[in-house]
Amino acid sequence: MSDSVKDKVIAIIAEQAVMDVSDVTPDSTLEDLGIDSLGLVESIFAIEEAFDIQVPFNANEPEQSDFDISSVASIIDAIEKLVAEKA
């Protein structure tokens, strides 16, 4: 389960960044990957669609959202939690 969440999230982020999946590592930041605010919002949409979840994210206060976007690993953690809560 966990691996599949991780793989799917990485695949979505890689597609957004127009990179190979193998180039997206857990410690990459969105900035490293060249994903800007619009790209982030688009990625979150794709993640919500893929897992049928609601991600609590407001672009005006990213640091106050319950959704930590500081790295790929933190995004995966957050999505895993949301997917687990839904199950």
Binding site: L38, V41, Q54, F57, N58, A59, N60, E61
Partner: protein, 402 residues
């Protein structure tokens, strides 16, 4: 070049159904934002807006008009009626042939679109009302105003998202200044507070769930509003000759394009529009007493706008007042600059500066005097109205007291 003055104003918005009620609410710092009362609101995550409440179309329009007037057109007609009545103008003869109407809207007949998409997609109907197209088209409001008041000159609709009204009023200003028209009806309207309209904005994740708090450090996004404001712009000698009441003079206008990003604002693009309006009006920065800000309450707009104002005004930026009335009436998107012009005229005529309400915490990136929470009495001679649209299209108007 001709001088251009404003001889009539009208509105309906979340703060009031006419100018007097609206400016009274602005003076009192009243908030018109509240719970949305629209179909399927339970399926929205954003449930607030600056909705026009206590409004019944049947009180103002007959059955045939309602069949043709989307809500954005209804709002326009009510605002136009108030403005043209105040101006005292009757459009006939050469005045009618040369005068026109230029209005701003972003979504046009969004409620009509929403209702009819539901009908064909959700309800599976295969037939729609014959007036769907003339009701939803963006120029419907301008066309109905032209028909109602016999305006036969240059008439069109401008759609530049959140700057639509300012761009529209700028066009009206230039048409009169250049001598092409003796009078123009202008302003803008928006009515996007329907399920599809709010849902689309939700997607961008820039909306607040609780309040619009421009320039406050704890701001968390914009809140949509709806309504219209319409003005009569008139050539100065024409107005003077007939003894019209002059509300203010429009003396400068500038537009710029960021040519940069589809949603993120640009300090330089905004600054070029502001300084352009000053140049066009022949003003020096230190003459400006008040700026009605674009002030959407998003993280990005407010800090960018403050930086742009600081760039243009230098030390004077700390002496002028800048407030966002979106905190009270919400963001009327294509109609917003028009409703905000009411606050500019109030500042010049009544010496009352509308506040930025909901202001709670200073933001080190927005250190200007934002007239927090309470209106202020002040003597100002020159004001600006900023509008910066998604897509990087900026339009700034300059007004002065006559």
């Amino acid at each position: 070049m001709k001088r251009v003055v404003i001889t009539g104003q009208g509105t309906i918005n979340a703060l009031g159904h006419d100018v007097a009620a609206t400016t009274e609410a602005m003076r009192e710092g009243r908030c018109g934002i509240g719970d949305l009362d629209i179909r399927d609101v339970d399926r929205l995550s954003i449930k607030i807006g600056g909705q026009v409440k206590g409004y019944t179309p049947e009180d103002h329009f007959n059955r045939q008009q309602i069949a043709l007037f989307d809500r954005f057109t209804q709002f326009t007609m009510l605002a136009a009626k108030e403005a043209i009545a105040q101006s005292g103008l009757t459009f006939d003869g050469e005045l009618a042939v040369k005068s026109g109407v230029v209005l701003g809207t972003s979504g046009g007949g969004m409620n009509t679109l929403d209702e009819n998409y539901r009908s064909v997609y959700e309800d599976g109907k295969n037939r729609v009302h014959p007036f769907v197209v003339p009701k939803l088209m963006n120029n419907a409001a301008a066309s109905h105003v032209s028909m109602e008041y016999n305006l036969m000159g240059p008439s069109f609709t401008v759609a530049t998202a959140c700057a639509s009204s300012n761009h529209a009023m700028g066009q009206a200003f230039q048409l009169i200044r250049s001598g092409l028209a003796p009078a123009m009806v202008t302003g803008g309207s928006e009515s996007m507070l329907c399920f599809g309209g709010v849902k689309a904005w939700e997607g961008l994740r820039v909306m607040s769930k609780d309040a619009c708090r421009p320039f406050s450090a704890n701001r968390n996004g914009m809140v949509q509003g709806e309504g219209a404001a319409v003005f009569v712009f008139e050539e100065y000698e024409h107005a003077k000759a007939r003894g019209a009441q002059i509300l203010a003079e429009v003396n400068g206008f500038a537009m710029s394009s960021d040519a940069s990003d589809i949603v993120m604002p640009s300090r330089h693009g905004a600054a070029r529009a502001i300084s352009g309006a000053l140049r066009d009006a022949g003003l020096s920065p230190n003459q400006v007493g008040y700026i009605n800000a674009h002030g959407t309450g998003t993280a990005a707009n407010d800090k960018t706008e403050c930086a742009a104002v600081a760039d243009v005004f230098g030390a004077h930026a700390d002496r002028l007042m800048i407030s966002s009335t979106k905190s009270m009436h919400g963001h009327l998107i294509g109609g917003t600059g028009a409703v905000e012009l009411l606050a500019c005229i109030m500042a010049l005529r009544d010496g009352v500066i509308a506040p930025t309400i909901g202001y709670e915490e200073p933001d080190p990136e927005c250190t200007l005097d934002v007239v927090p929470n309470e209106a202020r009495e002040a003597d100002v001679d020159v004001v600006l109205s900023n509008a910066f649209a998604f897509g990087g299209l900026n339009a700034v108007l300059a007004l002065r007291r006559v």
